[in-house]
Symmetry: D2
Subunit: 284 residues, 4 copies
């Protein structure tokens, strides 16, 4: 039996039944694997970590994108950090107010592989003239960017080791750079690791670092079955009025035109209500 073994946390692993290996190899930046899992359909993995699976990629990406874009009164320009699969851009572009999306992904080869092997995930985005894709290091981009954005979405790989270079994709340094490219009322939302009653080390750390840079920070989570966990996200802004509105009313009203395949607008709202034991674990 072919299986895909993934380290889930400091002590536990997930072993998935694999029905088919679609593509595997290395780009200049990472090891990739596209495989068909028996349980969750086609999955994409980078450096041993599953990024998304067919059965619920809509849930992951809707949760990543929509809260920030719905919280913002009128998002026009959006920066996507990473997002190689194209699905994040797809969700961003579903917002009609958006006129310009810049997606900065370091790995052109990986993006090509996504276009080839999971084409349906991102094809509407890659053919949308509002999307500009740049292949470069996000830190370099931020250092030199002349544009400003209403929303920044962080769809970057999770941190397996905080002493590795990947950690720079989540540091205080990065959030300060992001702050500079945000318009007034600007919002950043990023994936932020699993929310677990055991430990939620990454989420807690990312949240704290964002809180040291932005005045308002919100954790939220949605079940992503194919990740075998409640997946965490953090949304932050320096404009307190942006996040402190009545989310239920705002989201319900603004989401009317969105077709939500994975979550539904109600789930986007309840994602902000975390169980006590999870809150305790991330120090809120």
């Amino acid at each position: 039996m072919i299986t895909y073994r993934e380290v889930q946390n400091e002590s536990d692993s997930i072993e998935r039944g694999v029905t088919h290996i679609i593509a595997s190899g290395k780009t200049a930046f990472a090891e990739y694997l596209f495989f068909e899992s028996q349980m969750h359909g086609v999955c994409v993995s980078i450096d041993g970590d599953v990024q998304s699976c067919e059965s619920d990629e809509h849930m992951y990406h809707e949760a990543l994108v929509h809260p920030a874009l719905l919280a913002h009164p009128h998002p026009k320009t959006v920066l996507i950090m990473g997002g190689g699969e194209g699905a994040t851009a797809r969700e961003v572009l579903a917002h009609k107010s958006v006129t310009k999306v810049v997606m900065v992904d370091i790995d052109e080869e990986f993006v090509s592989l996504c276009k080839a092997h999971i084409s349906s995930w991102g094809e509407s985005a890659f053919s949308d003239s509002r999307l500009e894709v740049l292949y470069m290091d996000i830190k370099e981009y931020l250092d030199t960017a002349s544009e400003k954005f209403d929303v920044v979405i962080g769809d970057l790989v999770d941190v397996a080791d905080w002493d590795s270079s990947v950690a720079s994709l989540y540091g205080e340094t990065l959030y300060k750079k992001i702050k500079k490219v945000l318009n007034p009322k600007g919002i950043i939302a990023t994936q932020a690791g699993a929310l677990d009653t055991g430990e939620s080390v990454n989420h807690k750390r990312i949240r704290e670092m964002m809180a040291s840079v932005f005045s308002d920070v919100r954790s939220y989570g949605v079940i992503v079955s194919s990740f075998y966990s409640l997946w965490g996200y953090v949304m932050a802004s320096d404009d307190l009025s942006v996040l402190d509105t009545n989310l239920t009313e705002t989201f319900t009203k603004r989401a009317q035109d969105l077709e939500l395949i994975g979550l539904g607008v109600e789930s986007l709202i309840t994602a902000f209500i975390l169980p006590n034991q999870i809150k305790k674990n991330i120090g809120i």
Copy 2:
């Protein structure tokens, strides 16, 4: 490395790091294992299936018990099917309106082991004079019961194989027997397997069987990190007025005296809002 391998679904497994084996063996009814997992503290397993772990047993048991007891206008008598750990009874007895709880568990030895090895989970319940514990087959009990109940809570082992005898703990036959011991406005709530975007076979099946016996059926789910999934429950009643109230208002008001360690009352409410893709998977 000692690990505990658990079949998670038709194709995937979880492998947990184990720091200590507390007790393992067989009773007349099942193989048991009490172990300390590195990630989620002390865990209890029956027949290879993790039942509860220290890090979030409060979440599992609060979700199992409170929605039904909060939905019922004035629950006085409660029947617990299974519940050997004592934690389900603990949550039931937290409701001051409750005057009598009958817990029917087939496995006296397992209950003794729980009293010995996870004593803090159920000790407040086992020393509460409102609790009566009967060691017998729940089906026999239901056939001969003279008492009637406001709420019935199903805390029985999950079904690994629908052709095995365990399946009789979830069949239409059982729900008809339960119906007979329910008072008017009576509610049954039962654990009902994982809610997954891959497949949710057990939940779908249990829900359908309950729907064939009761006029109103509700699925809900809460993350139980130590189960590595969104855990599903089904609540059912023949009195449409019971479940069709405004849950937010009712729960908030009635839960005021409850100390909710795991979930919080808001999480009990949002548990009923399932993501679209999960709903699709269980056919709702």
Copy 3:
């Protein structure tokens, strides 16, 4: 990490690191997988069971073929049961006395896959005019065969379940059919499962069934590292004089022209000396 999980025996599993999936799918008869393992090179698996790996396929096949062909005074005609990889035929054809080899494999598609994906293993055999390949059930072949053979080699899949149809490839019924196609002084040798100090259920059973049909039976074993065990074979004959010769002298003399890449002639001889604890386990 892609891994290949293989059930090794009643309780233990092997998990191999996989660097590349070469081909996977189903023929009319079996699920196949050609993969590159990190440790043992290209491996071929049928129905979840590794058949041979590049790093020591020579050891497995030399041990399967040469003892019988060296024990026989002048083997001319050889029947191979199974042997789809072509490597068994390769070793048989290395014996210059051999004028005719009939290989009967049920699975033409699998043989084609071997020709495509592990071509070097069998190509010398498949291009040798002394080899005739028939695609049919070995039992049917034996029932209708008009030819007789000096040696029969059994290179069939191992039995995972003695209640399955695969068991018919090792039963008493089969050995009686084989007996009928053997010339006087004829020898049969077959792979016969792992020799383990835990249990060696398959080997013991195959040996006993052969002993009920043939007057002389010999177990032998060679380490096949990629199988993570001492691999067992049984050789049998009805002519006591054939196997009761001085193997050391006979093998050494007759093997002079053979190029033994895996084992060497001395290892072929010492394969017949089994440790006491292994002998005890197979009842000898």
Copy 4:
């Protein structure tokens, strides 16, 4: 299912079914685990590496001890490096010519645990007045030893990482110290890691280091099923006449009084005949 996962080599793992955990914990020097495996009986593990299992500990220890003691014309004094289980001393003391055995094991607590949990393995040795047990670092012992020995047996843990301190138990430095405590015609034999057709890194390295210190070096291997490999040993001496005798004749004659439960004298002899592909892998 409780399993014991053991890293087997650079890419593959063994997962054993565990029926019972007998004892687990840490001494001042190592993590230990005594467990009952379904397949191979009681097993002892140190730092995640299985040391011996009930089903074939006789095979492992007979192979470790007897070749050196049989090769030596009249072994009287023997030094055991490590050997905490007591089984190595048991095999050494089976040689009637032996008058004095010094066993130097750093870990007194582990030895006590072995006496408690696998008492039958070493009890005949620990109660034998010819055995002296010292609890100290073998390197310190060798630096200060005034005694000399006919045979030194190395029963120390295998090296998982050649950059760790464990590596000092196999280095050239150590072999030079051993050389100083050997009598003329003295022999050292040590366990030396798995012999595999994939890679046999440890064996090759240990063999080379010994060859740089001793004039005559011999690799040999026996199947240890519970290790899932052909287990390698190296025997070395500075007296060429010792190892270059006719092993078959010498061993057979001298082993007459030994009761060989695991291997048998013939298996001790054939252990020195390694398959070509294994020889190639260790560079001989």
